[in-house]
Symmetry: D2
Subunit: 398 residues, 4 copies
């Protein structure tokens, strides 16, 4: 079989951006993609120089994403998929432009700047017939997949408690007043939406809990805070969770917790066993069968299952990390796109790849958390009919 | 200076009990006490055989705690202090009996079975002029003292976030239906009061957070669950916290989390630094000054302060544990009692020893958590005037 | 059954000493002993004031150990056992004095200042009919006992590799030139014998390897160094080991390794499994059955066996430490002495308590290591007939 | 600046091989290379099918490495560098073929099958004027670079002790009798040379110790064992080391240590500080300044220096792993080749990239270890004039 790259373009991710470079590395690791086009910046000069640095031909470096969508559509060798790595508020318009051309979309999270947009986007995805992937990259870690496998196969029994947290410290001081571009847009409601830490990393924690548990969050009781003086969006999130399968949980997310670099951790406890996983030590998963010694399951090691091993490149003890976890999403996305090219129905190839539905769910979470926090932590349902409505306290709205 | 033991008696703690033996070891480690009397069991035979096994003379083995209080008072060599290690519901009557004789009281936690009793007990303590200590033993760990020292000395700056948890797994199954005596009384409202896991270990977590932070919890929003079928008291506690100094926190306490043996952990984050400590690795404390590498401070090691070192017996790297931490309370209590004997005012010797006020605070916490959980997690104040009152949702009662 | 203390005396361990206090705490933890006599210091004033501080009657505070041996022998309530916690060079004469009176001896390690003394002492022990225990305290940790149990029960299969190390850092600088009394005698050949770090902690590592493996070291190839300028005894030990059961090993011991507080660690690998244990985390033992996930066995937790649990006082997750491990030796010694008092043959009660034979073995190890190092690391047998003989290189002397 | 890939070819690394795939990923991560030619297998069919799978044109898939060297030399778009990932015995002839064409060589370790070949190869490299890199990939980890930086900048003071180990367990049983191709050639003297575990991973440990310390090993005293019945090469290596800067060390390397996946660890101790690093947790480096608390330095985190950060792609807390560490070598190699193309002298661009000299040093180490072990662990010099000579015991040959 001859090797076939998927032709991709990128919107956002020019010089100085962070997550664009991560996506590009992730596409290269397993050699499944070729980056051939880009609208890398809204600044045409930066767009062009960035494109050259990445080996994109000048004629396929666009200064406008809508021009890119149209022109790529018309090329014989046009891109098959676009990767969207702009600030949050641009996700929707860019995704729309490419979906309307039938081009597959790979979009960073959170999916949009609010729930209305997300619901709208879901309609566009359905209508387009194109494939849509949301890069909740932490679901790509092999041992996260294995954790899900353990839950799915009832190794834990009925789940009772889910503790998830995502703590960082980089916004402990008022970094948005410095040259830090990452801090600037992430604390700016115009670019981030109404959720700060909540949208940036809280949604990752939320998504991870749902991914592994296979349960949806039904209600939240939340207390948001902006600790840093002058900050316009939350930098600390305290939330209690009730899941639809009967589990209860807590989610803590913070960007003002000194000593935490990228502390995404999850613990799930069921009637028969508990598991624990931390993103900073991603090559180990702790399994405690009640009444037995704790087991350390390692990536590609003894005790790891097929689903985890399929996504491992090197033997146990040779650590894989964040980039490989990210690349695993791209492995699955490549397989999905190849399957579609080979005639598969777009609705049949999603597998474990985070979807527009996961994006909608994340926006429901953000919406409900904001509402609960504004309503003195009253429980709010994720499925309230009017997403932005404030329910009277004491009545949970479902 | 010649060595002088403090003469002590014990109520509860006969054969088969757990915490009584712990107290006895704790009193012996630093050789400050002599156990000379006991009402070790309500069953006279068990009381006597237990006493003999402990080297207590038959004439000072009592089958009734009230008899013990009176007779010991009348002996020239009578006990100076009593240790109360009965199930919770007996703390109040036993403490009362000894306080009325002016005998110092060292009482296990939670202080009483409900808040009314605790408030009543506080009056009795004040009236008695005797010394009262509550054995929140985890405050005795040297590095917990050092953590408090760091907070007190503004190393962390203004506190923002306090995450505390206490997870165990021994009640994952319905242990109370087996021969397990510990499980039986701890899940029985008659003996434990209305709080299960909440009273047994949740109060330790609460106390630790207050001890280190120097802040009081003002309000709680709580969600209690009894996951195990047929269980009458909570076995999982989810609580959000608001502290009077402006910090916010979460407290998770569970006895159904497989893989957790005695997982008391606390993390405090301020404007300038964060600290982390876990009871299962008590000889290390992690200090993260924002912008610097994380430091591992070890008991008696470089970076530990005087207050911690004063309570260390062996050099760094020679682990001290639970029993030594417990014994540290008894070191301080002995000093307090000696000071009183030497004429000090009882109100001047409390130092860092947990007091009746801490006990009252713990009962307020239990009361507020129960109320909040019963009221769909509405925020409840710890200082509501009527502790058992249900406030209408949406109005925080202060 | 009424409680009966064993009456003990102590030689050495006056104010300012370290290990004497440790022994005293260890005897108190489980309430098996009563300290009634002492020759705590060769300085009569310090001896007396130390004794008073410990509650020893003036008449039983001796300024000479030989007077103590004789007078205690003649008392009706004389001591049943003596604890020797002097610097190494005094172990032999003190032990001799008490053995000659038929008083049981509990002696700190290393057993004597050289092999000749150790062999002589062995004869005295045999002749005396008294019980002799050597406090290689690390063998008292419950999970060390469990490790031995796993090896004994062939869980590891035939042993291949044993890696043991004991690293500290407190002699990184020339501490012996300061007021540090511990550093002074430990680096002084007159008081320590010819082995510095080797005798002080290397022997612990050696003993632990033999204890768990059940194998004897047959040969050593060693390279000793005194890194600190002016130091007269080794402060770093590099040794390769060949065991009589076919295993091979390495032993590293150092007191000049910054960042190591009390880093005693051992790893044993057999045909079927490996185990790992570290003194600084003594409540966990790692078991790796080949082809299965690594298991974390915890003291008193799931997977720990009877032998370990017998020596646990508090449940899993409530850390026990150095002092409890030390106390476990005293638990076993108390049982041995009671058994002897009840008529058992002294040769039948040793059990797992380190014996004079272990002491002799340790001195053979020191002797062989010194010889090998002096002979450019040629392999030296521990059973060379003339312990101090230098064998011609290339011929292993056995 | 437009992006320019370096054109590379590969010898070895066809379907089923391990390390070839690792090299290819490493070249792609930072997009510096394009794989355009290969002699991927000595089996022409496998060579061709492997090439196709990798997107190499049929005309540049060679069945003979010598044909490849010649033909690529003659193409205008011929490869600039070749990557050699064959079994060890083929390194020399392949490297020779390409060097003779002036093509740069990137060669896996150990550099050759014996020291004579390595010395010969060194001559060829010098003569060729081409660039030569040896992929001791563990030197590419950012915190290994930082460790070297700390030593170079005298943060540790004069080095005293270096403990290095590399333990695995995959050869615990007789895997070479199964279908395991990796096990087959690695235990076959024809393909591996005379060193088994010693050559496969012991050389990595050796190289790492030299790289970080900046010292050369002067002498070794070694004890090699083949524990598994029927195994023809060593599977366990015990070695004591003497460095030319005065440090002493131990090196343990094993492939029969159950529970060890890829346990490369190094600890260096100097007069002022110690550092510790383990490959399985590569994103943290422990620094202990004597007299201060231990510091956890993280990749790209506070405390990591420029040299480390230059080689980081993602922020602290987002783990990078084995593949990124490997890729860092390729980053440096790309820079070196570009510099040469831009006119730099080949002798000026080596920087921290492992060189033919490191390869020679590694073969000297293997040679000396084999000689010492054969000579009952007598110290052997790495610079003995006749590398295979056996010196009479008792005389160290220098």
């Amino acid at each position: 079989m001859t090797h076939k790259h998927i032709r991709i373009g990128m919107v956002g991710g020019g010089d100085g951006a962070f997550i664009g470079a991560v996506h590009r590395i992730a596409t290269r690791i397993d050699d499944g993609y070729e980056l051939v086009a880009g609208a890398l910046s809204s600044d045409p000069n930066r767009a062009l120089s960035s494109a050259r640095r990445l080996g994109i031909n000048d004629e396929r470096s666009y200064s406008s994403f809508s021009a890119m969508a149209k022109q790529e559509k018309n090329r014989k060798d046009g891109i098959q998929a676009v990767i969207i790595v702009t600030p949050n508020h641009m996700h929707y318009p860019v995704a729309k432009a490419f979906l309307e051309q039938g081009i597959h979309v790979i979009c960073d999270k959170p999916v949009t700047k609010d729930l209305s947009e997300a619901l709208e986007l879901k309609k566009l995805v359905t209508k387009s017939g194109a494939f849509f992937a949301l890069t909740h990259n932490y679901t790509g870690y092999p041992l996260v997949r294995h954790a899900k496998h353990l839950v799915d196969n009832d190794v834990l029994g009925k789940l009772r408690v889910i503790q998830v947290e995502y703590a960082q410290d980089w916004l402990t001081e008022q970094a948005e007043s410095t040259e830090n571009m990452q801090a600037q847009w992430r604390t700016d409601p115009e670019k981030s939406g109404m959720a700060g830490c909540l949208g940036d990393i809280g949604t990752h924690a939320f998504n991870l809990a749902c991914f592994i548990s296979g349960q949806k969050v039904q209600q939240v009781s939340a207390d948001l805070t902006a600790f840093v003086s002058g900050r316009r969006l939350d930098d600390n999130v305290h939330t209690m969770l009730r899941f639809d399968g009967g589990a209860k949980g807590m989610l803590w997310s913070s960007q003002v917790a000194p000593g935490n670099e990228n502390g995404l951790k999850i613990r799930l406890y069921g009637e028969k066993a508990g598991i624990e996983w931390a993103q900073e030590s991603p090559n180990e998963l702790w399994l405690s069968l009640f009444g037995e010694p704790k087991q350390k399951i390692t990536r590609a090691g003894h005790g790891a299952g097929e689903e985890a091993n399929r996504l491992s490149r090197v033997p146990a003890g040779h650590p894989e990390g964040y980039l490989e976890g990210f690349a695993n999403l791209y492995v699955d996305i490549a397989a999905a796109i190849h399957a579609i090219e080979d005639g598969a129905d777009v609705r049949s190839v999603q597998g474990l790849i985070p979807s527009i539905d996961d994006g909608v769910e994340g926006m429901k979470f953000i919406t409900a958390v904001l509402a609960s926090s504004a309503n003195d932590s009253a429980w709010h349902s994720l499925n309230a009919h009017q997403p932005n409505a404030q329910s009277p306290r004491g009545k949970v709205n479902e």
